[in-house]
């Protein structure tokens, strides 16, 4: 039977090629993701190991808490006086303090480099004068040695067209200043650390500009000969005051490497989800192709049975075929994965995360996982068709026709489909609303089950759906439309399976479209509701840094401005939970934001005060004067008293601080955004002109009006949306291959019929049109099911996130209509090749062959 299976494979190699392509694409994507992640991990591992090679110990503040979303441990700065203490420890050959913080460099064209909101960070730090401790290597010029000198990384030099000797504007928490570039550096073998821009100042300047005078972020230590890292760290620990720690250089390397892995793991999971989606879509296509070919080979298989092959042998032959297809496709996919990795690398670079050059890392794990996934999916999807092949009775060899499946499918199918769908919905709800530990996996499983359940039910609704979707066709297209519609209806099982593959892609696309639209609507609603001002000055630096507070002060002095207020943003642990917290200036903020005070006075927001959202206050039984425990990175644990309870939590969140409390607890001293309200009687254009004159002195800052602010806020959503679209395109392309494949198989089956149509006068273009419309019906059927699932997913996720600021459910009708139209066009595209082949059919052969 093995030889027979191989022979039948070879006989249908073209058909199998399109089937295999689905697996190839899925596996290639999976392999590409893994190869890229492994390559990046290894590259950065060795990079960090190299640059911190000379560091034997590091002294730093103890972690107060871990920041949200992989921002890592939040540590207070340490006092500069500790340096002399450390230097006196026996075994210390050299020690040096260092600082690192937000800095942005302005390129030659006057534009600030980098995009810290969505890309790699923009950093500024101290130049290390101890060569063994310096992570950077000069490639041109000299080390910065005077207060107006800086060294910059090679990537920034290239991007900003800056050279040694040039003057460049540097943005920090202090007012912008022009500084001379004394040198250009690289980070180990890389042009910059992970795409970040770096400006290096002499230590005292760095302390003043990016940190605070008299403080270090850390002290790096070189051991004297014969003293181990562990010994050194333990000796230093003994002399350190509470709240500080000494760790070995090896540990710092390990921590940095782990941080990279954690940052990458999000990316890996994200990409693997799409690889899995592609494979699941591929599974539908494999199932359909094998079902059809098995049905077409009913007589052949019956003949084998009649000649003495056992049921298991026939089943085994089909499964072996699947195994061979899966194996070949997976191997090709693995190879293609290397190319995919290169493409993804380009994608990451375009997103602002260039990856340093290095060899491709191809781990055995990648090979095993991809082969298992590719072959497993193929064999699993072919199992049910294979069983059906085995069940063919020998007597079928004598019968001419096999009964295709018609009607609505069995009752059991409806029951199973409903149960699976219900299980999926339940799992989805648990994952979304019950906040379990592994919510992502539970939601993923739920989504998978819903897709699977709906596809099982798809068989039952296929007939009425085809009928309904094709309803206008006879009127529009005459008899070709009638034939197209009836062809889509003649084998509902096949139509449903084709449609299901597309359903997944469309479901996810419409889901993400609805979610993105709702997110943007929520952002807009928040701005509309809470912001009564006219303009926003945005630092363009995300949460990393911001605008020098002198900007807000200058704006307030303008006669065209009624009020300007800076907003500061930091991370803190409030009442046990880590969150972003806003700091506002109580003297100006409430002229622009209506937080709807319920109790207390805004003017009471002093140095040890906090404002609490009404609902939170109710839940936690907080009143004016209640104590709220808080931990800040810079100031450590403290207690704040509730001074204000307010009723509008957007955009302030659940808690906020006044400037006094913010400054007391955060070392940074800049505004993320400045909100501006124009003076009454001033025209918008006059106000804008006046504001712009001030803001133009702060490179990187941008003045936005309300609608500009809205679109600025929506930009990351749109960026993510287009990325997801690109990735989902893969699933849609695979589904289209499936439709094309099914059509080709159906056309092969209908050779006689098509020949007859041609003989009695159907023109080639009419024949093509018939197949095209059939394809459109199948595609729209998948789209209809996908939209139902997508709308449901979108609704569920938006509801689940209503307490995270996404409180508007918005159905972007135009986008959803566009999805339907595109799906219809995709159907036309899928029919292109099959319909051409059908039109080229030899009429005579088709009619007389017997």
């Amino acid at each position: 039977m093995l030889r027979i299976a191989l022979k039948s494979l070879w006989a249908r190699k073209i058909r199998l090629f399109t089937t295999a392509l689905a697996v190839v694409l899925g596996v290639a994507f999976m392999a590409g993701t893994l190869v890229l992640t492994d390559t990046v991990t290894r590259t950065f591992d060795s990079l960090f190991a190299t640059v911190y090679k000379g560091t034997d110990a590091v002294v730093r503040g103890q972690s107060e808490f871990n920041g949200p979303q992989n921002t890592g441990a939040q540590r207070p700065r340490i006092d500069a006086s500790l340096l002399s203490v450390v230097e006196r420890v026996p075994g210390v050959a050299a020690a040096e303090g260092g600082v690192l913080g937000y800095t942005r460099l302005v390129g030659k064209d006057g534009r600030a480099l980098g995009n810290p909101t969505t890309g790699a960070p923009t950093l500024g730090g101290s130049w290390s004068t101890v060569p063994r401790l310096n992570a950077f290597t000069l490639v041109a010029g000299q080390a910065p040695s005077s207060a107006d000198q800086i060294a910059i990384d090679r990537k920034s030099a290239r991007d900003g067209r800056l050279a040694v000797g040039d003057y460049a504007t540097v943005l920090t928490q202090a007012p912008p200043r022009r500084m001379r570039i004394s040198g250009i550096v690289r980070f180990g073998s890389a042009d910059s650390p992970g795409g970040a821009s770096v400006v290096l100042f002499p230590l005292p300047v760095a302390q003043q500009l990016v940190a605070e005078p008299g403080k270090y972020d850390s002290i790096s230590v070189v051991a004297a000969g014969g003293v181990s890292q562990a010994e050194l760290a333990s000796r230093i620990s003994r002399v350190l005051p509470p709240g500080t720690e000494a760790v070995t250089g090896a540990q710092v390397i390990r921590e940095t490497q782990n941080d990279t892995r954690k940052a990458l793991s999000f990316f890996t999971t994200f990409m693997l989800v799409f690889a899995i989606v592609a494979l699941v879509v591929g599974a539908f296509i494999i199932f359909n192709t094998f079902s059809i070919t098995v049905a077409q080979r009913t007589r052949e298989n019956a003949l084998f049975r009649a000649l003495g092959a056992s049921r298991r042998q026939v089943l085994g032959a089909v499964l072996f075929e699947a195994l061979a297809v899966g194996a070949v496709a997976s191997v090709i996919g693995l190879a293609a994965g290397v190319a995919v990795a290169a493409g993804l690398k380009g994608l990451l670079a375009a997103a602002g995360y260039p990856i340093p050059a290095g060899g491709v890392t191809f781990l055995a794990r990648t090979v095993i996982v991809c082969l298992l996934a590719g072959i497993g999916v193929t064999v699993l999807a072919a199992y049910s068709p294979a069983r059906k092949a085995g069940k063919v009775p020998p007597v079928a060899a004598m019968r001419d026709t096999f009964a295709g499946s018609t009607g609505y499918g069995s009752k059991e199918r409806v029951v199973v489909g409903s149960l699976v769908t219900a299980g999926g919905v339940a799992s989805l709800f648990v994952g979304l609303f019950a906040h379990p530990a592994n919510a992502l996996q539970i939601v993923g499983l739920g989504a998978l089950l819903v897709f699977f359940g709906v596809s099982v039910l798809g068989r039952t609704v296929s007939l009425p759906l085809s009928r309904a979707i094709g309803y206008p066709l006879p009127r529009l297209r005459g008899v070709t439309g009638t034939i197209a519609r009836r062809n889509a209806m003649r084998n509902p099982k096949r139509t449903a399976a084709s449609a299901s593959a597309l359903m997944i892609g469309v479901g996810l696309v419409s889901f993400i479209t609805i979610f993105a639209s709702s997110t943007k609507a929520s952002i807009n609603a928040t701005i509309d509701r809470a912001f009564t001002g006219d303009f926003v000055v945005d630092s363009g630096s995300g949460q990393m840094g911001g605008l020098d507070p002198s900007l807000a002060a200058q704006l307030n002095r303008l006669p065209q401005v009624e009020a300007a207020t800076g907003i500061r943003l930091g991370v803190a642990k409030i009442d046990g939970s880590v969150q972003s917290i806003v700091g506002v200036d109580p003297t100006t903020a409430f002229q622009l934001f209506d937080v709807k005070p319920v109790q207390g006075r805004t003017s009471d927001l002093g140095v040890a005060s906090i404002a609490v959202y009404e609902n939170v206050a109710r839940d936690k039984h907080l009143r004016i004067g209640s104590v709220v425990p808080a931990v800040f990175k810079d100031s450590g644990a403290t207690q704040l008293r509730v001074a204000l309870i307010y009723g509008e939590n957007r955009p302030a969140g659940n808690y906020f601080l006044g400037t006094a409390a913010y400054s007391a607890n955060f070392a940074n001293d800049y505004d993320t955004q400045v909100f501006v309200k124009k003076a009454p009687g001033t025209s918008s254009s006059a106000a804008l002109a006046a504001i712009s004159r001030v803001v133009d002195r702060y490179p990187g800052a941008k003045v936005l009006d309300q609608s500009g602010y809205k679109s600025q806020m929506a930009k990351p959503v749109d960026q993510l949306l287009s990325l997801v679209y690109v990735l989902l395109a893969l699933a849609v392309v695979i589904a289209l291959l499936g439709i094309a494949n099914t059509l080709a198989l159906s056309i092969f089956e209908r050779t006689r019929e098509l020949g007859l149509l041609r003989a009695v006068g159907m023109t080639r273009s009419q024949l093509r049109s018939t197949i095209r419309w059939e394809s459109v019906i199948v595609a729209l059927q998948g789209t209809a099911l996908g939209l139902v699932v997508g709308v449901f997913f979108g609704w569920a996720l938006v509801r689940a996130m209503s307490n995270q600021g996404i409180d508007q459910l918005s159905f972007p009708v135009a986008s959803l209509v566009a999805i339907v139209v595109l799906a219809g066009l995709a159907g036309v595209l899928a029919a292109a090749l099959p319909s051409r082949r059908a039109a080229r059919l030899d009429v005579l052969k088709a009619v007389v062959s017997d």
Binding site: G478, V479, T482, R486, L756, R758, G761, R764, Q766, V848
Partner: protein, 252 residues
């Protein structure tokens, strides 16, 4: 979609004809001359039959004259239209508008009802056709109560009668039938043949039928006998006995 610019309506008595038609399959040693110089006319309003032993070229002749296949050399005409000058599109429109077909089996589109199958060429042309003519044809085949049925709900004989009705529906210039009763039992076959005879005698249609069945052939007005790709004989007003007698001479 323009009907080919050929004049088929000129008053004449010849519905289709071939001049020195040659059809060669294969090359060199395996060359087969399926048609070896056939010149034949098929007159309008006549029920003609083409007979001959297996491999005599009778089906090839039918296919070539009906525009389903092309000649190696020589000419084939439907009306005044020289088929060798028509491209695929023009041939298709000629088949749709001027020619009716009845095949041995698999004559109907399974997804269309009997009525839709009957009117298929008209539907493809986007025309309503002559309603009273179609009613007349339907009345003659006697399946008025089964028009909404799909082919798989009809018997073999009923299916062939629907096929003949389809061939007639567009009131074509000529109808070609290839063994139309080959898959039917004798009773059903007789019904179909009687109906074809009626179409010619009562509805003034023109039919050319290929058959190897003497009984079927005897329904025709005229029989052309083929052997080895050549016309070897002709018979007018045949009877089953005479046909059988003639066929015996081929050694069958």
């Amino acid at each position: 979609m323009a009907v080919p610019t050929i004049d088929l309506t000129v008053g004449q008595t010849i519905a289709a004809r071939t001049v020195d038609a040659v059809k060669i399959y294969g090359k060199g040693q395996i060359e087969v001359r399926a048609l070896d110089g056939i010149t034949v006319d098929f007159a309008r309003g006549v029920f003609s039959a083409i007979m001959g032993p297996s491999g005599s070229g009778k089906s090839t002749l039918l296919h070539c004259i009906a525009g389903l296949d092309t000649l190696t050399s020589g000419k084939a005409y439907v009306g005044e239209a020289d088929l060798s000058t028509l491209d695929d599109q023009q041939l298709t429109l000629l088949r749709r508008d001027r020619i009716g077909f009845v095949f041995q089996s698999y004559n109907l589109i399974p997804t269309l009802t009997a009525l839709e199958n009957i009117t298929l060429p008209l539907l493809l042309a986007g025309r309503d056709g002559d309603r009273s003519w179609i009613d007349q044809v339907i009345a003659t085949i006697g399946l008025a109560d089964r028009l909404d049925h799909r082919p798989d709900e009809l018997s073999g004989g009923q299916q062939q009668r629907v096929a003949v009705a389809r061939a007639l529906a567009s009131r074509p210039h000529i109808i070609f039938a290839d063994e139309p009763t080959g898959n039917l039992d004798s009773k059903a076959g007789a019904d179909v043949l009687r109906f074809m005879g009626q179409a010619v005698s009562e509805l003034q249609q023109t039919i050319v039928m290929v058959t190897h069945d003497p009984v079927a052939a005897s329904h025709a007005d005229r029989i052309v006998f083929l052997a080895d790709g050549r016309i070897v004989d002709e018979m007018l007003q045949p009877t089953p006995e005479r046909v059988l007698e003639r066929m015996k001479q081929f050694g069958e």
